[in-house]
């Protein structure tokens, strides 16, 4: 295996806008909000950036194409800006670009910034359509909830789980994220909910109700990376470094070959395995302190806990109901509220997850600060269960 990314790149500063229905702000203002916080945290100014990576998903209802929207909004000093798009994993993709640039030595300091302005469509939820001239002529009608809800049907069949038991576990997942989000003043949804509310919510896509779905939010998140050495020179304390950064993309086998049973994420398993290897983690359930997973829907979170090897296969329901992933559990998950409550401005989400892990590792997470976390993991997923992009990133205190 390649030598990997472990401890080659440090996070110099991060910023995150308030997420939510930001009627007063466009993507440009959201980008500036995240950028200013990141600059302040990094203790540098824009002229010190060597290059930037910019992630957005829905260009058509957002800023349009290319890297220019970022370069212009931030008045960057005529540096290279690369726009990346990889569905909901776009933020992790931008981070990867910046991290690899620094690791290669081509850049000293690089910026990754993701933004999504979703609330200019006139309705709730996400716009449809995969795009492409052939897709529209045959791909099944689908919304994000309907695509992810299918996991539930296959998971239940595989593990012999009743609809009621599954719904109860899914409700626990959402109740936990709402409780966490209530403590986060940047989160979109800040009201705790009860299991009863989750269970009796209007149906969106069988078996997912309203509270099984994450927020559709506006927001931006930014990360400035550099080498551990430069970070030290710039006076950075409690340096957090990248331990692993892995992406795995479907190649059509889940969608087209009968080897996949529909109940899990083939790519997440691969990305997780490689990430643990890259980070030198042997027993994830014991070594990972906390994580943010791509909880676009409660059922995604449930199966992902198994795909990340944190719960045994078929064991996530028990772990969830036992509170294993609650804020006071063994491995707190979605401690900032997750996509569910912090919100899901698509292009920003991967970086938002890192933001929380970084705050926790820096002991700056305020009322939701965990006790002495060492290893934080993010899992950022784009696409649908049968065809997707899975990104797993692990960060921790520099060694």
């Amino acid at each position: 295996m390649a030598r990997g990314i472990k401890d080659k790149v440090a996070i110099l500063g991060m910023g995150c806008s308030r997420f939510g229905e930001r009627w007063e702000s466009g993507a440009e203002e959201l980008m500036v909000e995240a950028y200013e916080e990141a600059l302040l945290d990094a203790g540098i100014d824009g002229s010190q950036l060597d290059a930037a990576w910019f992630s957005t998903h829905y260009e058509e209802i957002n800023v349009g194409k290319g890297g220019l929207p970022l370069a212009t909004a931030l008045r960057l000093p005529n540096i290279a800006v690369t726009r990346v798009e990889n569905f909901c994993a776009s933020g992790s993709e931008a981070f990867r670009g910046a991290v690899y640039a620094v690791a290669s030595g081509a850049c000293d300091i690089a910026l990754a910034l993701g933004v999504e302005k979703l609330k200019d469509t006139g309705y709730g939820g996400l716009p449809g359509s995969l795009g492409g001239t052939l897709n529209a002529q045959w791909a099944a009608t689908g919304s994000a909830p309907g695509n992810f809800a299918q996991l539930a049907s296959a998971y239940r069949a595989k593990h012999g789980v009743s609809r009621d038991d599954l719904k109860r576990a899914l409700a626990h997942i959402s109740v936990k994220s709402h409780a966490n989000g209530a403590k986060n003043d940047k989160a979109h949804l800040r009201k705790p909910i009860t299991e009863e509310q989750a269970l009796s919510a209007p149906m969106i896509a069988e078996p997912l109700g309203l509270f099984d779905c994450c927020g559709v939010s506006d927001g931006a998140a930014a990360c400035i990376v550099t080498t551990p050495e430069i970070a030290k020179q710039l006076g950075k304390e409690r340096i957090v470094t990248v331990k692993a950064l892995q992406l795995s993309l479907s190649n059509g086998s889940e969608a087209g070959h009968n080897s996949w049973d529909g109940s899990y994420f083939h790519t997440t398993r691969i990305a997780a395995r490689k990430a643990y290897e890259e980070a030198g983690i042997k027993k994830p359930r014991e070594e990972v302190s906390m994580f943010e997973c791509h909880d676009c829907f409660s059922v995604t979170e449930l199966v992902t806990m198994e795909d990340l090897q944190l719960s045994a296969e078929g064991g996530a329901i028990t772990d969830v109901l036992d509170g294993f992933y609650d804020a006071d559990g063994t491995i707190p998950c979605q401690i900032d509220g997750g996509l569910k409550c912090f919100g899901h401005p698509i292009g920003a989400s991967g970086i938002r997850m890192l933001y929380e892990m970084y705050l926790q590792l820096s002991h700056r997470a305020g009322p939701r600060q965990l006790e002495a976390p060492r290893i934080g993991m993010t899992h950022n997923l784009g696409g649908s269960p049968m065809s997707n992009v899975a990104a797993v990133c692990i960060i921790g205190a520099a060694e």
Binding site: Y123, G128, T133, L134, A136, S153, G252, S253, G256, H257
Partner: protein
């Protein structure tokens, strides 16, 4: 000699109870009170004359001379009769032929413009296979007629299709003679581009049109074949006008018991398809060898065709046919849903219905026509894996061979549900939107839309079959996109 050698039909699953129509209109017209008897077939939102034609043709070919993947391989012509074809200029028969993998060197024709287009197509096909230029032809009649709310047509019409395989030889029904009488008698008309029929007074149609013109044609065909009217065993004559068929039979001397069931109680009248639908229905019951069958259809004149049943007609084929499809029906009293499916009411569909990806890349549609219309995927000649769509590199992770796939159609393959959901968020004319992954019995899978499915009906493992349906319609440009969807296997269908 030429004959009909196989038959099949298609009737949409949904049936609208006429009592629902009658109840909706009594406030304005009390005469509807007595019109609520029986039910009529209504197409789902994703069905039209073409999709129904494909299904009727499949029903017919599945039981023709060469069933299975090679069904229809020896066909040299396909006649599509309808007055409700979705394209005025793009050959509709070509779409049907491609969906059945019957494109290529074959004659394909749209026959339209009159309610007797179905019988005209049949007559043309019989005459063609009697001559040197054709050996086997498929005749498909299909119609999904629009009717204004509270019109007579709304009660009388039904949506449906039938297909007949015509070839050299005596077949099940041997063709004895055919006659066409042309008369520009305008009982109704539909202007080019108009959605609805404009109909004249029934009494005039019956007394001055049907009663005068049809007997001329019927008597002529009987004379041509040297057959007495009283010898006719089965008389097929579709008409939505009460007692019109009885009147014709009486006036030419056909016995009353020869009148074939016009299916008005259970199906409604399927326009140009109806004579063929009634004929299929008749054949499904089995015919006494030697029985004489007279088929006539009225529309700016009259076609009359005379047949004699052979020994083979005594044993019904295994088609689903009209009877099989009628048995699979689901009766509905949801008149508002019928209005919505047929664009007869202006509904708030929400912004999600405002999709902007409806423009169709026609170059892609052509390049991928076998995939999109014939559900053709690939079979890897190296590892044997079936896959959809067909690509240059095998999808099997253990194989990955390049350029090894030969065409394989999943059209008639059995499949079952692997994953599913019922989505209340996505816009669809008939919510919730059901879709999910299906796996084919012999290999291959893809995520598909489900249609004709009830809430609560799907589960992991539910057996499904593929049906040709409308994928989406581009209202702005007047284009319809077709693809295949999965439908739960039900009853005798399974």
């Amino acid at each position: 000699m030429a004959g009909i050698s196989a038959f099949g039909a298609y009737v949409p699953r949904l049936r609208l109870a006429r009592s629902a129509i009658a109840a909706a209109h009594q406030w304005s017209d009390p005469s509807f009170k007595g019109k609520g008897k029986g039910e009529r077939a209504i197409a789902n939102w994703d069905e039209d004359a073409i999709t129904m034609a494909v299904e009727a043709a499949r029903d017919c070919l599945a039981h023709g001379a060469a069933p299975g993947p090679e069904a229809g391989a020896s066909l040299d012509a396909l006649y599509l009769a309808s007055t409700t074809l979705p394209f005025a200029d793009r050959q509709n028969a070509g779409i049907v032929a491609t969906a059945l993998s019957l494109d290529g060197q074959r004659r394909t024709l749209d026959i339209t413009g009159s309610q007797r287009a179905g019988t005209t197509a049949l007559l043309e096909a019989l005459q063609a296979v009697s001559g040197p230029y054709s050996n086997q032809a498929l005749v498909v009649g299909t119609d999904k007629r629009q009717a204004k709310a509270a019109s007579a047509g709304e009660l009388a019409y039904g949506d449906g299709a039938a297909a007949l395989l015509v070839e050299e030889g005596e077949g099940l029904l041997t063709f004895l003679a055919g006659v066409t009488e042309t008369a520009d008698f305008v009982d109704h008309f539909r202007g080019a581009g108009d959605a609805f029929d404009y109909t004249w007074e029934e009494r005039w149609i019956r007394d001055e049109g049907i009663s005068q013109i049809v007997p001329e044609a019927v008597n002529a065909v009987l004379a041509k074949a040297g057959v007495e009217a009283s010898a006719i065993d089965h008389f097929i004559f579709p008409s939505t006008i009460g007692r019109a068929a009885d009147g014709v039979a009486k006036s030419v001397g056909i016995k009353a018991e020869a009148l074939a069931d016009n299916l008005s109680a259970t199906l409604g009248e399927c326009g140009t398809a109806h004579a063929l639908v009634m004929l299929s229905h008749l054949l499904e019951g089995g015919l006494k060898p030697g029985a004489l069958v007279l088929v006539a259809a009225f529309g700016q004149g009259c076609d009359a065709l005379l047949f004699r049943a052979t020994e083979a007609a005594a044993t019904p084929q295994g088609t689903l046919g009209v009877r099989g499809h009628l048995a699979l029906g689901k009766t509905s009293d949801n008149y508002m849903q019928y209005l919505a499916f047929n664009d007869l009411v202006t509904l708030e569909k929400g912004m999600r219905a405002e999709r902007d990806d409806y423009k169709t890349a026609l170059s892609v549609t052509y390049r991928k026509r076998d995939m999109l219309l014939a559900l053709e995927g690939g079979k890897c000649t190296q590892c044997g894996t079936l896959q959809f769509p067909r690509t240059d590199i095998c999808v099997n992770p253990q194989c990955g061979a390049h350029h090894t796939q030969e065409p394989h159609s999943f059209r008639d393959s059995k499949a079952s549900v692997l994953t599913w959901s019922a989505d209340y968020l996505t816009y669809i004319p008939n919510p919730p939107s059901h879709y999910g992954m299906i796996t084919f019995e012999d290999g291959g899978r893809f995520m598909t839309d489900f249609t004709d499915v009830d809430v609560g009906e799907l589960d992991v493992g539910t057996p499904v079959k593929m049906m040709f349906r409308i994928k989406s319609s581009d209202r702005l440009r007047g284009f319809v996109r077709y693809f295949w969807k999965a439908v739960p296997q039900r009853g005798q269908d399974a």
